[in-house]
Assembly symmetry: C2
Homo-oligomer: 320 residues x 2
Amino acid sequence: MMLTEVEAALARIRQVTHHTPVMTSRTVNALTGGEVFLKCENFQRVGAFKFRGAYNAISQLSPVERRRGVIAHSSGNHAQAVALAAFLLGVKATIVMPENSSPIKMQATQGYGATIVLCGNSAADREKRTTELIEEHGYTLIHPYNDFRVIYGAGTAAYELIKEVGPLDWIFAPVGGGGLLSGTAIATKGLCPDANVIGVEPKNADDAYRSFKEGIIIPSENPRTIADGLRTSLGSNTFKIIREKVDDIITVSEKQILVAMRILWERMKLVVEPSGAVSMAGLLYGGLPLDEQKIGVIISGGNIDLNDFFTHLEKQIQDL
Amino acid sequence: MMLTEVEAALARIRQVTHHTPVMTSRTVNALTGGEVFLKCENFQRVGAFKFRGAYNAISQLSPVERRRGVIAHSSGNHAQAVALAAFLLGVKATIVMPENSSPIKMQATQGYGATIVLCGNSAADREKRTTELIEEHGYTLIHPYNDFRVIYGAGTAAYELIKEVGPLDWIFAPVGGGGLLSGTAIATKGLCPDANVIGVEPKNADDAYRSFKEGIIIPSENPRTIADGLRTSLGSNTFKIIREKVDDIITVSEKQILVAMRILWERMKLVVEPSGAVSMAGLLYGGLPLDEQKIGVIISGGNIDLNDFFTHLEKQIQDL
């Protein structure tokens, strides 16, 4: 759990990842009283920070592991991240996806050359099918968050941010499985130990919040949040790092997530998915003393289904 | 019509405008075969390039003109641009808007401290009301595009782009009244005379295309395009500059505008309005020999009504 591991990850991924832009907004500064820097991972390859961890993990496999291939189970951004990272490294990727995954995400994952294996919609179905395939083919599992290589890779976003804008007083990151928050905490405490690292979680999927307060992992039960990337529960490794290095975890309502998202879209012209706006909601509604503080916010991704939106515009041009 | 005028404009506006980011995309490069640099004026203040020209114009008024105040007629981005520029310069602004303007745009314009005067929905109504107010109060008209100060201000976007990425082989800009295209042509031909300057216009509002081909101004008649910022006709000054410095004007269909917009939103995560995606549509569908060329594209703005989109998301969180 060292800063040097994040630096090593950055050296590994630098050539293939985007050094994503840092955006600022007068409106957001005025709303918080602070100086806010958004690290925009919606502009990352595959549209989310996930590519950083996936590439860092796969690039470290042994020649034998590479020949056998990798496997991941995900219906979201991790699927595309593993697919693209594997493709770039010449490694065969198999992605186990629930049958009810969106056709768009399946298509995108296939577009990067991965093989998709469908499974039932429960977590148990997914894990069973993945285990079977690993036993049969000897694939290496790329876990979406509980793998240290994935965590260090995720931490490179905060690392880039702080190297670019200087030491921060606060940093906000969303928390689902905890990979991004863990990596963010390692990078931030390594570069500016006095910074407050805040995890932000949907109130309707508050397993990390409750785990953090209780000191034991409490899995999420029936999480119902529009932030679909944050429905997962903490892992053993991410929980350990979070307990040690994160200052607090706060929760936000679904309504607050949408208000934050709307500011990002309408005022800042950024396409951000609900999960990616959760950190911003924590910034705006966390009730923290941010006046005259220097604040980083990780905007984690921008993958959202815009089909209905464009269908509506297509109708508009027919009616002109 | 000199480069030095654009440079003088940039010196005037530099402190208050955003030096907007230049974005690139592997997808767009692959689609064109060239190296494409998008100058993202959707990130400009008030969400569009219009602020550059408005500020450049108002900042050059005499003390007497400033005391009397400025007036503009617009239902779109120029209204907000004049309102904000006037506010920052301590000048009273009156904006004449048609009664059927969107409440959101009226609110935004009022939010910058401008006085809104409503008028009928025809161009004649608008001009009549504006003339009356000028006669009554001695306001100075800030024309949306036919004013040289507005044109030079608009040209600072292309100027910044070329200074940042180096000389271009091609540059694409949308054309409505022609202010942005004229300014872009002056800046581009001044910095890299060999570059091809291409204006892109909706086929359904092709007055500039026809005027350029015929050599006389042919006003647009009943333009029906989703690119609402490009429904206006060329002015005498913009037409003169365009004839002299623009290499070609091409047209794109409504469908092509939406496909370009969709790439900007889905792949590049940029909120861009239909008018702002027209230059991108010309890049993709213009049939020009762009292979291995270095290409600039002005993305002119990002102001679009997202009310329906967020209303839909609000319903989703209620049904979770």
